[in-house]
């Protein structure tokens, strides 16, 4: 529920109608809301009233012209972008709901009654309780669509089970493990701070960042470069040697995620359109050049980018054009709810071109936004 999720937390909440912003006819409005039947009826009713008294009509027009846009819209039954995202949220239990005043029936008899009195709301075994962690899920502003779920029939209150099926086997005293598997996949020490002093390390990082200019600016602060530190360690913490190798570019390719081509981005978006967030299917059918893991990573960078906003708007328009089969649009609907749950205005008029270099997109957006964070 929106109210619990505290919309004040940040500006990204589901529609904040009171927010002062430019009138920006939404897709919904353009496509369907303006020929809403209800609106027509209301207009007729109004017209009927007005015909009786021309002065009343004039004064009401006058009044309306001074009305804030939102009120005006409300007056005529237009509810704007909120309309869609009001319903899917209902299934969530509101944790702030009044508690049932029930006593536990299984309390041991010897318990201090004072405490028990304080702990008044131990509800009894309840029928529609959940075995699901998600049962108390609230939709927070940034979060996605939720399932309709049906809670288990189990009683919510559980008891701790005792028996060999439940407890771990505690090593008796400290006994030998003979059956240690031959060890297959090893760990790797990537950095150890105790070998050289912090100042030397920092100095090294400074020099390293000058050598290996990242393909995209990473801000002015000195960040830890995993690769450079690992190289330094490989060189036995010999700073000169590590820098020499950095210069020679012997270092392994700096980014574990190479840049995405425009084609890959387009295919990815087509994949999201078809398969929602089923990254495996996207990988299988659309972006075979990338692993599923890379797709997941890309998704999170992409979803906060301008490019994503454009994508989302386009998808919404398309949704209106087609009558889709409910069964097949499952993913799509969820995706769209996701979009509706957010105020898109937080990265407003950033006219950053949709560039080929995918990673630079979230960057442009965020830098611009950052310059005016808490005005």
């Amino acid at each position: 529920m929106a109210e619990v999720a505290s919309p004040n937390k940040d500006g990204k909440d589901s529609g904040s109608p009171s927010k002062d912003k430019l009138f920006d006819p939404s897709v919904d409005m353009l496509v369907n809301d303006f020929d809403d039947e209800r609106t027509l009826e209301e207009e007729e009713a109004l017209a009927a009233g007005e015909s009786e008294d021309p002065n009343a009509e004039l004064s009401s027009l006058q009044k309306e012209s001074n009305m804030p846009l939102e009120e005006l819209l409300a007056l005529y039954g237009y509810r704007g972008e909120n309309q869609e995202n009001e319903s899917p949220i209902e299934e969530d239990a509101d944790p702030s709901e009044p508690m049932e005043e029930q006593e536990s029936e299984t309390d041991p008899p010897d318990q201090p009654s004072k405490l028990r009195a304080l702990y008044e709301n131990i509800p009894e075994n309840d029928q529609d309780a959940a075995r699901l962690l998600r049962s108390v899920s609230r939709v927070s502003e940034e979060e996605e669509e939720d399932y309709d779920y049906s809670p288990d029939e189990d009683e919510w209150r559980k008891t701790i089970m005792v028996g060999s099926d439940y407890q771990a086997q505690i090593p008796e005293g400290l006994c030998h493990y003979d059956d240690a598997l031959p060890y297959e996949n090893e760990d790797k020490l990537l950095w150890d701070p105790l070998v050289i002093s912090a100042t030397i390390t920092e100095d090294f990082l400074k020099k390293a960042s000058e050598i290996s200019k990242p393909p995209i600016p990473m801000g002015s602060h000195l960040r830890d470069d995993e690769q450079a530190l690992y190289l330094l360690q490989q060189c036995g913490h010999n700073v000169e040697e590590a820098l020499r190798r950095l210069r020679m570019n012997v270092a392994p390719s700096s980014d574990n995620m190479s840049l995405w081509s425009e084609e890959e981005c387009r295919n990815f978006e087509a994949g999201v359109r078809c398969f929602g967030k089923n990254f495996h299917l996207i990988q299988q059918n659309k972006v075979r050049t990338r692993s599923v893991g890379e797709l997941v990573q890309f998704y999170y960078l992409w979803k906060k980018s301008e490019r994503h906003d454009i994508f989302a708007n386009k998808t919404r328009l398309e949704k209106k054009k087609y009558t889709l089969h409910p069964g097949l649009t499952d993913f799509m609907d969820r995706f769209l709810e996701d979009q509706d749950g957010r105020d898109r205005s937080s990265s407003p008029n950033v006219q950053c071109s949709v560039s080929d270099n995918k990673k630079s997109v979230p960057e442009n957006v965020s830098q611009q936004t950052k310059s005016t964070p808490d005005a």
């Binding site: 702030s96 709301n121 086997q169 801000g219 490989q234 893991g293």
Partner: protein
């Protein structure tokens, strides 16, 4: 206080799994945290490991063979063949079958296991694995987004060297999987602070669950009501943990830092700030006991990232600025772009002072019942799950001489297990 040696375990792939559309658990939060850790310059202050991946064998130290076998085999593609098993193992709703499920489990479990081993070998004082902390998983089944209980497996490893291990859980949900695993033993004390009652998952954890048999009074539960704020939490946490330390005297601690106890969590209902949450971590650190720090719940991505980044900084004793550094994920932290945004919540604190005092007293009274900390008769130190000496041989670059740190490792840990003439483990043992 001297600086602690901190080891940090992170597999760069662990963030690239996806539980499925609409699922609140988002492993990618781990990538966001790692990015913040790097950009805050915390990385260079810790030993960084790309951890070992746990094998099915490692997981079976706690879980049943059949269950792990099932996890290994099931994929979204062949799921139809397992329909009977799904409900049996509670896999489906909360714990979906997603691509790479077993890999994901072996990454986070391996990191906790290795953290425990590094602590055993005294290679560090604090081991951090934010990908771990999946405290609901049971011996025979998945539960609450958790499949393999890395905490139980980590504690079992610690028990090889430590007579008494303390488990502390500040997730908003009860740490039922860990409590259940150690319900009958006095060698592990589990202490969980959580929301209890009114349908809240998982439905266990009232204060009368105190353990059974030898483990009676070694399960400690602090049920709380919704909306608890920093001050109220501290009012309970500090005296309870102090009392636990006094009566149990653990030689190792596992701290589960579930971040769903923060305000405005998607699934939680507490009102802690990142600072209030961090106070608990700071306090546990000040106890100066070898500690494995793991993650856990946390479903509002940006707040989890803030919280665990901040706690990483606390563990390495480094002050970091409130303004977030630039990262590729910066946009997630709009509009304030700070580490400690102001907590705004409409959740009333339902915990009266009277209630908090009463629950604290109840818990502390129970703790007095653990008469003497158990003593474990000393035999032999068991071999490690992963043979330690292999790691030393690991070479990175043949034309580089062996580095000082690797050399240091070779003379390490007084209870290091050697087969040859260096064998000293039988005499030189701490109790």
């Amino acid at each position: 206080m001297s600086k602690h040696r901190v080891s940090y375990f992170f597999n760069p792939d662990v963030g690239n799994f996806h539980y499925g559309t609409g699922h609140p658990m988002k492993p990618h939060r781990l990538s966001v945290i790692h990015s913040l850790v790097l950009n805050y310059g915390l990385h260079k202050q810790m030993q960084i490991y790309r951890p070992y991946k746990a094998s099915a064998h490692d997981m079976c130290r706690f879980h049943s063979d059949e269950y792990i076998d099932f996890l290994q085999k099931v994929t979204p593609q062949n799921i139809q063949a397992f329909t009977k098993h799904l409900s049996h193992y509670n896999v489906g709703d909360d714990c979906p079958v997603f691509w790479g499920l077993f890999d994901f489990c072996s990454m986070y479990t391996g990191a906790s296991l290795e953290g425990a081993m590094k602590l055993n070998h005294n290679h560090c004082d604090i081991a951090i694995n934010w990908s771990g902390g999946l405290h609901h998983a049971k011996k025979f089944e998945a539960s609450g987004f958790c499949y393999v209980n890395d905490i139980v497996i980590g504690i079992l490893e610690l028990l090889k060297y430590h007579a008494r291990v303390l488990y502390i859980d500040i997730d908003v949900h009860h740490g039922d999987g860990v409590q259940e695993a150690f319900y009958l033993t006095d060698r592990v004390m589990t202490v969980s602070f959580h929301k209890y009652g009114n349908y809240f998952f998982p439905g266990t954890g009232d204060m009368y669950e105190v353990g059974a048999e030898s483990g009676r009074y070694y399960s400690v539960n602090v049920p709380l009501k919704e909306g608890i704020d920093d001050a109220s939490y501290w009012m309970v946490f500090k005296p309870v943990i102090s009392s636990v330390m006094e009566f149990f005297q653990p030689t190792a601690i596992v701290l589960q830092c579930g971040a769903d106890s923060l305000a405005n969590d998607r699934l939680g209902c507490f009102s802690l700030s990142t600072k209030g949450h961090g106070e608990c971590v700071k306090f546990v650190k000040s106890l100066n006991v070898p500690t494995l720090v793991v993650g856990g719940g946390g479903y509002t991505l940006r707040n989890v990232a803030r919280c665990w980044t901040y706690e990483t900084s606390l563990l390495v004793d480094e002050q970091i600025s409130n303004e977030l550094p630039y990262t590729e994920y910066l946009e997630f932290f709009a509009p304030d772009f700070t580490l400690h945004p102001e907590v705004v919540t409409r959740q009333e604190n339902a915990n009266s002072r009277q209630y908090l005092e009463a629950i604290t007293k109840f818990v502390c009274d129970n703790l007095k019942m653990c008469q003497h900390s158990p003593s474990v008769q000393m035999h032999d130190v068991p071999g490690d799950a992963i043979p330690e000496e292999d790691k030393i041989k690991e070479e990175d670059d043949p034309d580089v001489r062996i580095s000082q740190d690797l050399e240091d490792k070779m003379v390490d840990a007084k209870n290091e297990f050697y087969d040859g003439d260096k064998d000293n483990d039988k005499e030189d043992m701490e109790t």
